[in-house]
Symmetry: C4
Subunit: 275 residues, 4 copies
């Protein structure tokens, strides 16, 4: 049997906790396809995005309620503005709403000032609609994004893939207070399921993906790392896929030491123990 | 066990019906490859399309007869003109024939007038050959397509992916009488099986796809939504794939409350109950 | 259980035969990658091609000998010239050698005269090395290829995908004596296994492909059609894949009514019964 | 049951050995993505590369220690320079460190002199950091690479795919002392698992890949060839994948006659027996 990797210090999770699990959902609606496609999204692509609002988010919220889990939703400001009832319903369910840009911007194409303005605008929009300002962000990072997030007092960022557990991210070579909650393609849904005409990429079955979700969780639990699911209601919210996710969550819940938490809860705890 | 998503009103299907299932087939012949490829289709691509006429449609019709199911066939006008015996044989089997453009046009490249002319020409061709004018359409939508379909008295359209059940589609912001019968990539065949040289896309086995068809059907039945299979005789009509579809249909038929209907039957019923 | 499709006349195979099976192998060596890649093949791509000669063909020949099956090998003239021992060893095993161009040309880019010259040169090369002139061909078809093959007295061609059984191919609208032995991606190996850096295409496991080979064979046997495997020793000749093919062949051999034949044997029989 | 292919002379492995197995790991860090992508790697791509250093290599080293296996690590000079502790920790574990260029160069774009300079620089860097000069190399080959490696006294090269066992590679048409240790996509990890946004390529599950690793090993053992796994800690080092590799290694260890060796050990032995 494999044992904990040597040389990587595990985080001392709260008493009784072996492995936090965060279910995070990016509510991109049709902006998803602006990001994925090099051409203008077609009416079909746009309609896939709208599935987020009409079906995906309601189905995900119903599942979370059945399971008694609070999750984290990353919502671009413009989407919250266009669909305020969706944003409010999520917040009313006790879930965290975090920053996801205003238009799902590629920060690599913004100046530091433009980026700062975008960050403020996104936060103000979320606050105006849901009453709470986001404490964390998931962004398409540019050179100044980490510094800007740190300056603006964000607690965490969640985009990078260089570790299996949270860490303090560096700003200009010095560790900052900003915590990175890393993600991976294994706990993603787009890597397996996102699809449209002309998009050459993998397309797996829920039964296949279920084996990866389980195997990767089993390993993270054994190593006392953490699991950050990075999902999209329009993708994972298709019924057969969400059934698969629910089976996976029930499997994870059956294991002692698993803590279903929001990204914010994990980041706040890490702030107390990370060097 | 998952339950019906909250916040989405299910359609009150006819007494005893929990879930309508529509088997729809796009008979594109070689036009399929004009749509899928950015280069000129090769003789091999064209021959894949001709498989529609020589093998795919006959094999599908034989299966439908064995199963006692009436289906909906979307046929471009020019294909019905080129292969009138195929179109007539389909109609003679009691199946619905619906509009699929004249040349499988991308309506986004037509003016409103050109589109209207194309719609009239496609309808007239189908009527001349089969004796019945199409009541529904599946088109590569442009800005004016919904308005044109509504003006010309069509009952339904079936291309979009923003819901798991039919709804009244809006024209210029106002709900119209036109009903959308949404589709999805899960109940498609090209997403899994379409393949030719140089086409970078998924290619799955029938055994894998069978799990998706079943899981997604199980969920739609449980949620009392509907299933719109969007298939192509040249793709699903390969023998090992059609055997898989037949196993799936026999599985679905074994469940109480499943109504195998044409798209037209579903649309006509929806017109009586949709708000 | 599915039954024979209506409307497609099955070929009256010889007494006791329900389904001929042809194992055909394209020995393209590095020319395979000139065809598949839009860029110049790298040394790695070229070395994949040479695997054909060093490992693929010997392993395939050993398997055919174990199984007591005669197969058909399509060899470009220039490859037979470069590797005459390989061509001779194949011929010495009693297998058919057929025409595969001189340089695996795309006939769509040749004039009718250039194509005729290429056909003569390929035939002469094969005859000079193996002592037998090819009677059949598998070519990347252009507008004049079928007419040229017919004029030059070829018996069959094997590239198209419009049927599940042989038929007389038309030349300028009139049926000719030339027989088409159609192929498909289901009984191919490149569709599942061909891979190199930068080539975005499916890549399946032998266990997955085995299910398709079996399911498709089962259906062809039931329908009394035929099976034309279109394989490449450098692809299917990888050991774990060839083990899978051998399991498949042993499965097929266990069924009554299966006739393992060369393409030439099938074409010669078809000439006696096809209208 | 398949037997040893005829016509390919097996290497007379040491007494009691039926099949050597080499686990080789390319430690490319973010340079992997410079090679795979045609665009500039994004921060996410770079972070995937850093996973090599933070998680992948430590997890792989821990596994090798548990299993008592010495492996071969191919490390670009610039990566060893940037992460000297990683290189030293690998060497301290008794593993072989081999040449992988200085910047993972495409040798096809270097002059013979530039290439020679790159080879010397890479060797000197590895020697300075780990104390040992590399004896073997894995490079993106150009026209002069084999000659240069031979002139500089390297013992082996490991990039090509034209055989299932080692052989003496030719320089300008004459066999040299340089031994090729061929690789294949079946025993690779990137072919199955490498993935990032916009990269259209296969993406399989560990459970699927496990079947290929086993089937291909079973065949190589039966044929008395050899197994050269070509892996990347940032790819195979994801926990669920490394668990799969560990299961595979334990399976292989359970078979009599399997020799887990470094690439250098295999090359040194081959030098004594190859013609």
């Amino acid at each position: 049997m494999p044992i904990l990797s040597e040389g990587v210090a595990p985080i001392p999770w709260p008493r009784g906790v072996k492995c936090p699990v965060v279910l995070s959902f990016d509510v991109d609606a049709d902006l998803l396809w602006n990001v994925w496609l090099t051409k203008e999204p077609s009416p079909i692509d746009v309609s896939q995005g709208i599935y987020d609002i009409k079906v995906g988010v309601p189905r995900v919220l119903a599942m979370l309620k059945r399971l008694g889990i609070k999750a984290t939703f990353f919502i671009p400001g413009s989407i919250a503005e266009r669909y305020p009832d969706t944003a409010k319903e999520i917040a009313a369910g006790g879930h965290e709403i975090a920053h996801h840009g205003y238009l799902h911007e590629d920060c690599g194409k913004l100046t530091r000032e433009e980026e700062r303005e975008m960050l403020r605008r996104g936060s103000a929009t979320i606050k105006r609609i849901t009453g709470e300002e986001p404490r964390g962000a998931r962004l398409t990072l540019g050179r100044t994004t980490i510094a800007n997030l740190s300056d603006l007092g964000f607690l965490y960022e969640s985009t990078l893939m260089d570790d299996d557990q949270p860490y303090h991210i560096s700003v200009n070579g010095k560790p900052s207070r900003l915590i990175e909650l890393p993600v991976c393609f294994a706990f993603n849904d787009t890597s397996y399921f996102a699809y449209t005409f002309g998009l050459g990429k993998p397309f797996l079955t829920p039964r296949e993906v279920e084996t990866v979700y389980r195997d990767e969780f089993d390993a993270m639990l054994r190593e006392k790392k953490y699991c950050m699911y990075m999902l999209h209601p329009q993708i994972i919210g298709r019924a057969s896929r969400l059934d698969m996710l629910e089976r996976t969550v029930r499997y994870m819940k059956s294991k002692p030491g698993v803590w279903f938490a929001t990204a914010l809860q994990v980041a706040e705890f890490c702030q107390t123990v990370l060097p």
